[in-house]
């Protein structure tokens, strides 16, 4: 069973629909017992990093998450859930969870697309991910696959944690983390078959860890 972390800044239902479609048992929950019993945790997020942090800290979920990550519970952060794993976000000068070293920055509107036109912010639409290191999440996903992004801030973790990059004016980190703790800036639950495959790969990894 995968737990989908329940707090007010999430797009839990769209993640749930995707997992239901894949036949993956799941539960939207903030209950520490259920989170601890789950094979893995999906940490979604929409909206502003500051609000998301407020929702997490007010319920003590920030400490709960950190403790589960220390216990090597597999976790997948999505969108704002990807950003607030870092130390800091420029959006409203927000201190974030500090689980992965790095920060989150606003896209520079002076950057240009390949055709010379300035980038439009938010970065909204379909884009590719170039893997910088191999990652089990991307197993059997073609390199030309595209994923759906909607965001104005992008993660900039410490170099060691960069897994994949996406070009939007310049290259930015769109996948970061380490084995068992991953964060994706795009929305796999809205990225068609490649996104569903990524969620399935995460679930497969969680089952492997459970059965190891």
């Amino acid at each position: 069973m995968l737990a989908i972390l329940d707090y007010k800044a999430g797009n839990q239902t769209s993640v749930r629909r995707a997992l239901d479609h894949l036949g993956i048992e799941n539960q939207i929950t903030a209950d520490p017992g259920v989170l601890a019993a789950a094979d893995g945790i999906i940490f979604p997020g929409v909206g502003a990093a500051g609000q998301a942090m407020d929702e997490l800290t007010s319920g003590g979920l920030d400490e709960e998450l950190k403790s589960l990550i220390w216990q090597e519970k597999p976790l997948l952060g999505i969108c704002v859930g990807c950003q607030i794993l870092l130390d800091y976000c420029e959006e409203n000068n927000t201190r974030t969870l500090a689980i992965i070293p790095g920060e989150c920055r606003l896209f520079n509107p002076a950057w240009n697309e390949e055709d010379g036109t300035p980038i439009r912010v938010p970065h909204m639409g379909w884009n590719r991910v170039a893997l910088k290191k191999s990652c089990v999440l991307f197993k059997d996903i073609p390199i030309e696959a595209e994923f759906y992004f909607v965001h104005s801030y992008y993660p900039a973790p410490k170099q060691d944690f960069i897994i994949g990059e996406t070009r939007y004016g310049e290259d930015f980190c769109s996948v970061h983390g380490r084995m068992g703790l991953w964060a994706v800036q795009f929305h796999p639950e809205k990225s068609g078959a490649p996104g569903l495959k990524l969620l399935n790969n995460f679930h497969d990894y969680c089952l492997e860890v459970r059965n190891a």
Binding site: V46, R120, P122, G125, V150
Partner: protein, 259 residues
Amino acid sequence: MLSRRIIPCLDVRDGKLTKGVKFKGNVDIGDPVETARLYYEQGADEIVFYDITASSEGRGIFLDVVERVASQIFIPFSVGGGINSVADMRAVLLAGAEKCSVNSGAVKNPDIISEGAAAFGAQCVVLGMDVKRVEKSDKIPSGFEVVIHGGRKYTGMDALEWAKTGESLGAGEICLNSIDADGTKDGYDLELTRLVSKSVRIPVIASGGAGNPQHMADAFTKGKASAALIASIVHYGEYTIRQIKEHISAQGVRMRMVW
């Protein structure tokens, strides 16, 4: 670099699919959920549902359609038609849509754009604009006027000004529909599309007039649109979305080709 998007638009009345030509003489052609799934499998980058239901009973059926679509397709989709308040927005977003499109509701009450953006984020709010060509005048210097009620009522607003106002109020995207081109299959109004695309920094979706894949390629290369809305060209099976994308991609416009 973002891929340019191909977005089929489904008009829904009382829970069933229709496609009108110039907003007149709609005929039922099928089930919106099944059609959406077909387009999803064919490689649509996004789907738009436009509710043209008048009754509140039909509205309930429509929300049910939105929920069923959300459980079957895993790409973004947006919903427009009859959205006049933040409560209307909330209802379609809760039913599973990513975005909602405000059109005449925003003309009557522009604050709905800023209120929607504050409540749900700018990326959720699409400003839909119906536009007609008129004589250039002091009031309409661009020669493009915003119209409502399917083109029957002129608003006295310049389309270019309204696009900029919508952007500054917090709209995340503009869906720009040419009433003159709609249903003609002669191509998008490229002059209008380019004018608006160049004067705002949010994505512009070209709408109205698509008759063949080259029209869409032109909307991207000449009109500078980020996305192209299509309807009858796919509803009646003249082209598949893959055929359209292959045609456009061959001209060096980046399309999402793996799905």
